[in-house]
Amino acid sequence: MLLELDHISKIYGSLHAVDDLSLTVPEGEWLAIVGSSGSGKTTLMNMIGCMDTPSKGSVSLEGRKLEDLNATQLADVRKNLIGLVFQKFYLVPHLTAVENVMVAQYYHSVVNEKEALEALDRVGLKDRAHHLPGQLSGGEQQRVCIARALINCPKLILADEPTGNLDEKNEKIVLDLFRQLHEQGTTIIVVTHDALVASCAEREIMLNHGVLVGEKWNDEDARAKYEAAGGKPASTGSKSEGAQTGETAIGFADPTKAAKTGGEE
């Protein structure tokens, strides 16, 4: 398994942002973490992305336990294994598109402009390579962000609401890019509350106030493969109502955009 979460919790005072979650993700899987705002999705993503440590439990990436690593080692794991895509893009505003991609190379190993341009070409932005983020549309900025995430050939792409700020056309472009990456064998974990985005994934898990409340597979072949490899459904030790505690997955209806607008935000 590429990623193993073993009874992890993130506790802020009396608030359990993530409550006793166990989850395994094999290499090459496309997983969507869904749930309304404040359900602990981003906290979970930060812990997987080595940017935050769980209060309890342990996270293993490629068999390495993250809690044993210091800040520098965590930074190394992050830059070697993980590509990050954010809802708000977080491009460096005073660097051009290609320079933004090269920043990831710079902190990873060696800057190579040719490869950076190829990555931009792959997301269809070669002709916009020397524009500043301010001169790019939201969709283009997100594509630069994806080019930056994949420039170092990460094993795992972590995307937090990657289409949250995009219109339908750009959402489709981004999802197509993810589909390509998935076909090439990259593991993708997408945090979203968009039903369409979630439905593109092979597997979805649902969080509610930090508690795992459901899991479903959109691709039965993938499920069979996962179970054949000894994969188990996600589970939680939480005693909350509706929690998926046992060995069996509890199905759920896709969250909708309407749910998002009616949410806590």
Binding site: N46, Y90, P93, A104, Q105, V111, E113, C153
Partner: protein
């Protein structure tokens, strides 16, 4: 990510982007593509550099300048003949040996003066014989309206000009009477006396192309040695001169008429000078020693006198000026530090997201810190260079208007000013940069 050679080759066709180039590309982007903030940081260190450079330039140059200017306010050492040799004045040999003695103590400017009493419109006046270049060099404070004396032209003191209603270009007749100077010899040392030269006068007067009336006047003068000067009160003959200029010093010079040494010799015959004035660069102590040495030396036959007032006030003003400089410099330094530090803090807080992102991409705290320090140093460098330029212009204008001297650019000081600006900028950014390198990517990137 092994760099494949094909890619490398392709990279070399354009400008190959290396990590070092990328580092500077990031700094360049931050400085030149985020101009509003960068300008603030540059302006902060620019103001500091400009003020410091201007102050330092003025304070380095002005004391030198002031000693020169102060020395221009006349002499700080006066040498006159002693009692024995006062009548004949100082011979050329004596003058040169005194000059050598004085110059041994420190470089000095000197001028000799010969004074004779003459008659202009029958009234007695002192006529000074000078070497124009020497005197002009020594007395920069003399305000001369018109020109300095030349052959046949005299420089008239303001009081003399006012008394006689003279203007530039006016003609005056100057008559020399040996008797006047014989009488004056006992009363005034510096005004000089030339009684012994009386015999030479008629010859010189004729060679000067004077009229027969002039010769007559001289002879009359000679014959009235007993003080019957008033009897020839209506005798206004003499050699005609033109007024080349009028000198105003506020001192005794205003009561004297100056002619060239040659003109005076033609009028009054050969005689040595009565005073040598020195403007020496030697310190007050050295001057005291020098005065003692000259006065003890019997071979020179002269008296030396120190004009100490100017020398001591000179040093006092310079010390005051330098203290003021240090005080203002410290204040400016602190203000620059605060200015740059505040701007850097605001730059850092504005770029929290970017710093968080860099850390999320694997940047270490040290590399984030290095980037900001270099960026800050660049602001310091830009501000330092521009500020030093502006400071120089200010210092130059200041020197021009206040001290009336041109200021040349001191490269060493310029370099020091730029280096100091860079250092201040880096020191000022220590606190903000430390804060930046502690930013937690998770917290920043989680912010909605």
């Amino acid at each position: 990510m092994a760099a494949d050679s094909k890619v490398e080759k392709a990279g070399k066709i354009r400008k190959p982007m290396t990590n070092r180039r990328m580092f500077f590309a990031m700094i360049f982007g931050a400085v030149f593509r985020r101009r509003s903030r960068a300008v603030m940081a540059v302006v902060s260190s620019m103001v500091g550099a400009a003020t410091l450079f201007c102050l330092a330039a003025v304070c380095l140059v002005v004391p030198q300048q002031m000693s020169a200017e102060m020395r221009a306010y006349g002499a700080n050492l006066i040498v006159t003949p002693n009692e024995a040799s006062s009548a004949a004045g100082l011979s050329a040999d004596t003058v040169s040996s005194v000059e050598k003695t004085v110059e041994a103590a420190g470089s000095a400017k000197s001028a000799t003066y010969r004074y004779e009493t003459v008659r202009i419109n029958s009234a007695p006046y002192v006529l000074g014989g000078i070497d124009v270049n020497q005197v002009r060099d020594l007395n920069r404070h003399w305000v001369v309206d018109g020109k300095w004396p030349s052959e046949g032209r005299v420089l008239v003191g303001r009081d003399v000009a006012d008394a006689m209603g003279l203007e530039i270009g006016s003609a005056i007749k100057i008559a020399y009477r040996a008797s006047d100077n014989a009488a004056g010899a006992s009363s005034s040392g510096t005004s000089g006396s030339a009684g012994s030269n009386a015999t030479a006068v008629p010859n010189d007067s004729t060679t000067a192309g004077t009229t027969s009336a002039e010769t007559q006047a001289q002879s009359t003068g000679q014959s009235s040695r007993d003080g019957r000067v008033s009897t020839d009160i209506l005798n206004t003959d003499g050699t005609e001169f033109r007024v080349a200029g009028i000198v105003d010093t506020g001192g005794s010079e205003d009561e004297i008429v100056y002619a060239t040494n040659d003109d005076l010799t033609k009028l009054a015959g050969e005689r040595g000078s009565d005073v040598i004035e020195f403007s020496s660069e030697a310190s007050a102590d050295q001057l005291t020693q020098l005065v003692n040495r000259i006065n003890k030396s019997s071979s020179l036959g002269v008296k030396a006198q120190q004009v100490s007032k100017i020398t001591s006030s000179n040093t006092r003003i310079i010390t005051m000026l330098q203290t003021l400089f240090w005080l203002v410099s410290v204040v400016v330094l602190v203000l620059t530090l605060v200015g740059v530090s505040t701007t850097m803090a605001s730059i850092v807080s504005q770029r929290r997201n970017e710093i968080g992102l860099r850390k999320a991409l694997g940047a270490s705290s040290a590399s984030v810190g290095a980037e900001f320090y270099v960026e800050s140093a660049l602001y310091g460098l830009l501000g330092g260079v521009v500020g030093t330029g502006i400071g120089y212009v200010f210092a130059r204008v200041l020197c021009q208007t206040v001290f009336e001297r041109t200021l040349s650019f001191n490269w060493l000081l310029g370099l020091a000013s730029v280096v100091l600006s860079v250092l201040i900028a880096v020191v000022a950014s220590i606190v903000p940069v430390r804060r930046a390198s502690r930013i937690d990517p998770a917290i920043v990137l989680r912010e909605e």
